[in-house]
Symmetry: C2
Subunit: 679 residues, 2 copies
């Protein structure tokens, strides 16, 4: 293993011996765990850089998170601000790059407060002119201001055209008047807004020269740089308790005719001249660019890690926990030796790897196309939007569900915050709505699919068919009507199951186009027809996204020819990911006879056999994620496996144990004596 | 509507006007909502009794829960003890019966602390002799002691034979010596144990006259009745923070050779004589009786209400929230008018009703058989155990998933604690492991099903076949090999879909028996064969449970002949429940050709058409659950629909807004100035 020294124990008093049940799991290594970690890090040098950052963070008591589960909302916020402050100090003294700050965020498990400050910077770079970037970026990077991005409103979320905040240009003073006309126009949710930010990038409906021009972004000072009080016309505060993210001051903001100078409108894609003339340089979509940037970055930065960590914790606990006997004469068995436990956890492990490689492929596509878009070449934006939207929605769905599956797989202990699992679940649960509500995103993918399908099939051989975006090129591939598998082993073949997924996705897309056209051709209004077929579209979009994940996983494995041991162990996970999806959705594969019932049974046999094969590498495959004990912050998931001792020691530090029982004198004693007084 | 006056608003300052978007939903009533409430309450007189209790609770500021979302762990516990104390005072002064205390628990949403005190009482009644009940029940009912039930251990849960706590009989003193031999033997989880209880009913492995006799229950004093300090040999405390249930002091308990008198062993089913002679009067199963009692009671008391409340909240919010336009010329649409939103919420609503009627039928079966079991007639126990285990597991699974679906259907606001939804989700999430871990319970059902199947098919026409328990009688019913449906409307038929579910359950049970037998016949060890087929057994058990829910729902509707309007509207929900299950599991129905792909499409058409029909009654169907605003404790789900105003007002009361920003002087100001110092 890499450097076990870094895995400092949760409890300072802990002995450091490794539990024999977990040591035995690491005894025989069928592949090089360190090398797999390097692959996940995209290079050994990145692993080294990441560990260097982690060792700095984890050896500094200012960054400790071990009391998190015992803290109040206010305490969590204050601790996070403290961490942000220290991060800023270290960034200045050590010269951390933006890449290294990503490792800082990972080391802190996101338990810091200035995420949206960075978000502001990225929005600025996407939407601001070079002059605006030159002016605001240094102020932001050196924390002379603290900024946030304010888009969502109390009554309006994903449907941006519905935003109510107004920005009206006043040519006499060359200012924009920013105003919240109703209670539902109150900005709601922006991180850092509640208590920290001094400036907000406010998204508002622009009116100039009497005409509405749609949504634009305006830099608005909201709090005094002298004493942090809110500026005139500004009502700002924290939106209160949430399911998690206590450390983050999500806030509200109301603006009462607040004036900002003309140059505070970000103007890479649109500009208002001093006389109020409106000049447009981008498409309607250009405002969405920042959202695409964010959606791509959260995949690896925010959405996937909770699932990976949940896998690590549940897997380690499952080889320590012993329950019942497999045979009456045996000792109690490790619960990971039960088929049902493998059936719960291994698909989540496979998903963790599948989504890693998927997110990397999207990131690479994004990096290839971002500069072109900044230069106002929007040709790749629709595909990038569809890919990032669909991947975000799918990953959020499955990571929430997967983390919860891992949590439940740990029985009662999974319900204790000290397991780390509840916080992972409640944190990743936010992913279903932030950065675009999942159903809305899936339906945007569906529109892209319908359009692509029509493009592919309405004019075969034409130019437009040749230029079908590569992510939907399978829509024109020759299709098998029957799966050729004749035995279980035939299913252990990427080509076979990728083709199967392509078949099902194509059929469902075709089906949803058919339903849509049937309705419009029978005279139904096209919008009503769309609404009445959205359940079908949703199903098609989900199948397409799953296909994408299977395809990118198997393509990533092809590149590991030089790592045969790792390729083999990951290939099993790839098989498992594809087959688990087929079995869960077997109805879609049986529907048109592409698979027969007998073939589904073969796929199940192949799947169940894979569980047994993956079993022996399970702990190593989770070790390879290389999360330190501090990152996991879990008594169940500790690297040395001394689960019960940690739970017992940690629980006793609970304020409920250390602060006595103030309710005793007030209520319990009178209760115990109440009857006596009646006698 | 019944008595809208009871629905006191969350905010004292609120005007009380009903939002027009929700008023319009209640304008036309196709059925009598009050009458449906009476049916759910099992009689109008029960509705009246319940409301009387609720009006007392909700008009008493001592029982207020409106600050819950802002409280710390300690504060929640203290508030709950206060409520328990006041409940006890009111019980004495008003003479509340145990039935009325169930209404109290509902009115408090379980936010009270003495649940396990009642649990102790029920265990006492199940396992204690008449003399023991006569001694301890009055002490308990008058709160001269506070008791809990201590079974689960740090290292041992569902597998009771694995419990390590020891009770060794010492004939010389006629005492039992209760002892925790290891750290994993520490009792862990019992409610009230952490800080409140004075006595625990400790489950321990009995040894007398040198022989191990299995698990028995012992009443052990743990805290002084004088000053509440722990007694000699007792180490006791709170297990710390959990995903929810902050109000409850789940605790740990270690016993160091603690002695209790011989008569403290509960001895309805087994007794130790003074010389150490062991006398058994029950079966191995008799110790499980109390667990069956609890499993039955939590269905309606604990597991179902969070799903019902989540439906109420999400449904009300979905007619207030407007987003996007269905047509470009329209105003923004109520999100409940989107097919995808109906597809999320209506199956949960249907499930809420299906599970209500299922739980009632199990409760009635339980009430019919409980006294026989107490009198040591154990013939009905296996079926009661299977029914209650399967129903608990299924309801827990679907209520967790359903509450989370409702939460996500509310977008970002569903992530705010002020919506009420996060607390419902995190509370009901405990249900997957408490009172028997779900997978373990499903597998116990599976064993019952395998046994019943073999009984039904190995000796046709024999006595044992005639005596097949009624819940599995369908295993011998004549089976169709093809579903006769020819058009979508054919699926709107309870007989058709109940038969379809019976077919699939039978096939899956048969399949799992076949897999099991194939393995054992080819020489595999029977335990290994069981383990390697458990994924299949799980699937069979789940299908059986779903069948049971469909069957009990349609049987309950047959009894509503005199209520045609209510019968009609509930019938749609019954159809939806059955069809939603078929569509989600379509692979199981297509597998052997019972349904064709064309028939699945028909079922989907029928399902989508039902969504439109249910739409107009959706709000009324949730109103019928008759939860007061205080029970819901939700800004999104308030009866009058003034969602945004409440969110805005309530958020501002957050301590994060009222306590200033202590982090500013310490960290934010230095951060904003840090760069300047570098210049």
């Amino acid at each position: 293993m890499g450097s076990p020294m870094r895995r400092v124990s949760q409890e300072d008093t802990w002995s450091g011996q490794v539990h024999p049940d977990i040591a035995s799991e690491r005894h025989v290594q069928s592949f090089d765990v360190e090398r797999l970690t390097n692959i996940l890090d995209r290079g050994a040098q990145n692993t080294a850089r990441r560990r260097k950052v982690e060792s700095i963070i984890h050896s500094d008591p200012e960054f400790s998170c071990k009391d998190n589960y015992f803290m109040t909302h206010n305490e969590r916020y204050e601790a996070a601000v403290k961490k942000a402050f220290h991060t800023q100090m270290l960034t200045q003294s050590l010269g951390w790059s933006e890449e290294e700050l990503v490792y800082v965020y990972r080391a802190l498990s996101g338990d810091t407060v200035l995420g949206m400050h960075t978000g502001f910077l990225k929005a600025l770079r996407s939407l601001g002119s070079e002059e605006q970037i030159a002016k605001w970026e240094p102020l932001c990077k050196t924390c002379r201001i603290i900024a946030t991005y304010a888009q969502t409103e109390l009554g309006h979320g994903t449907y941006l055209q519905g935003l109510e905040t107004e920005a009206t240009y006043d040519a006499t003073t060359q200012e924009f008047v920013i105003h919240s006309p109703t209670i539902t126009a109150t900005k709601w949710w922006p991180g850092n807004l509640g208590r920290s930010a001094t400036h907000a990038l406010v998204l508002a409906q622009l009116t100039c020269s009497g005409a509405r021009r749609g949504m634009h972004a305006f830099i608005v000072p909201i709090r005094s740089l002298q004493d942090h009080t809110s500026l005139p016309g500004i009502t700002v505060g924290d939106i209160g308790p949430k399911m998690n993210f206590d450390e983050l001051d999500n806030g509200f903001l109301r603006l009462d005719h607040v004036r900002v100078p003309r140059e505070n409108m970000l103007n890479r894609f649109a500009q208002v001249l001093s006389d109020g003339t409106y000049i447009k340089r981008g498409t309607e979509q250009s405002n969405y660019l920042f959202m695409v940037v964010t959606r791509v970055e959260i995949l690896l930065g925010e959405i996937l890690p909770p699932l990976q960590k949940a896998c690590v914790i549940a897997m380690r606990y499952s080889v320590i926990r012993r329950q019942s006997r497999l045979r009456p004469s045996d000792p109690e068995a490790k619960i990971l030796d039960y088929q049902t436990q493998q059936h719960k956890l291994f698909p989540q492990l496979a998903m963790s790897y599948a989504f890693h490689f998927l997110a990397i492929s999207i990131l690479e596509f994004f990096q290839r196309s971002y500069n072109a878009i900044l230069d106002r070449d929007f040709s790749l934006l629709p595909e990038l939007h569809a890919l990032s939207s669909g991947t975000k929605a799918m990953m959020a769905d499955f990571c929430i569900q997967g983390a919860e599956t891992c949590r439940r797989a740990c029985g009662g202990h999974g319900y204790s915050k000290l397991s780390g699992l509840p916080s992972l679940v409640t944190r990743v649960s936010a992913a279903s709505s932030y950065e675009g509500e999942n159903t809305v995103l899936y339906l945007q993918v569906a529109r892209f699919l319908v359009k692509s399908y029509l493009q592919a099939h309405m004019s075969p051989g034409s130019t437009s068919q040749r230029f079908l975006p590569s992510s939907v090129a399978y829509l024109t591939a020759p299709d098998l009507s029957r799966c050729p598998a004749q035995r279980a082993a035939d299913f252990l073949c990427p080509e076979l199951y990728t083709t199967a997924w392509a078949h099902v996705a194509t059929r469902l897309i075709k089906d949803s186009v058919y339903h849509l056209q049937t309705r419009t051709q029978s005279g139904q209004d096209q919008h009503e027809a769309w609404n009445q077929t959205t359940v079908t579209h949703l199903q098609a979009a989900k199948a397409h996204c799953y296909y994408t994940s299977v395809k990118s996983f198997s393509e990533a494995l092809q590149k590991l020819e030089n790592e045969p041991a790792i390729q083999q162990v990951l290939k099993r996970l790839c098989h498992l990911h594809a087959l688990h999806g087929i079995l869960v959705n077997s109805g879609d594969f049986l529907h048109d006879g592409f698979l027969s019932g007998v073939q589904v049974d073969m796929a199940r046999t192949a799947y169940l056999d894979l569980l047994l094969l993956i079993r022996k590498d399970a702990i190593l495959l989770t070790d390879a994620f290389d999360f330190t004990d501090q990152c996991l912050n879990s008594a169940l998931g500790c690297y040395d496996g001394n689960v019960y001792e940690r739970l017992f020691q940690w629980a006793q530090k609970s304020p409920t144990n250390t602060q006595g029982n103030p309710a005793y004198e007030k209520y319990i004693r009178p209760l115990l004596q109440s009857w006596r007084s009646k006698l």
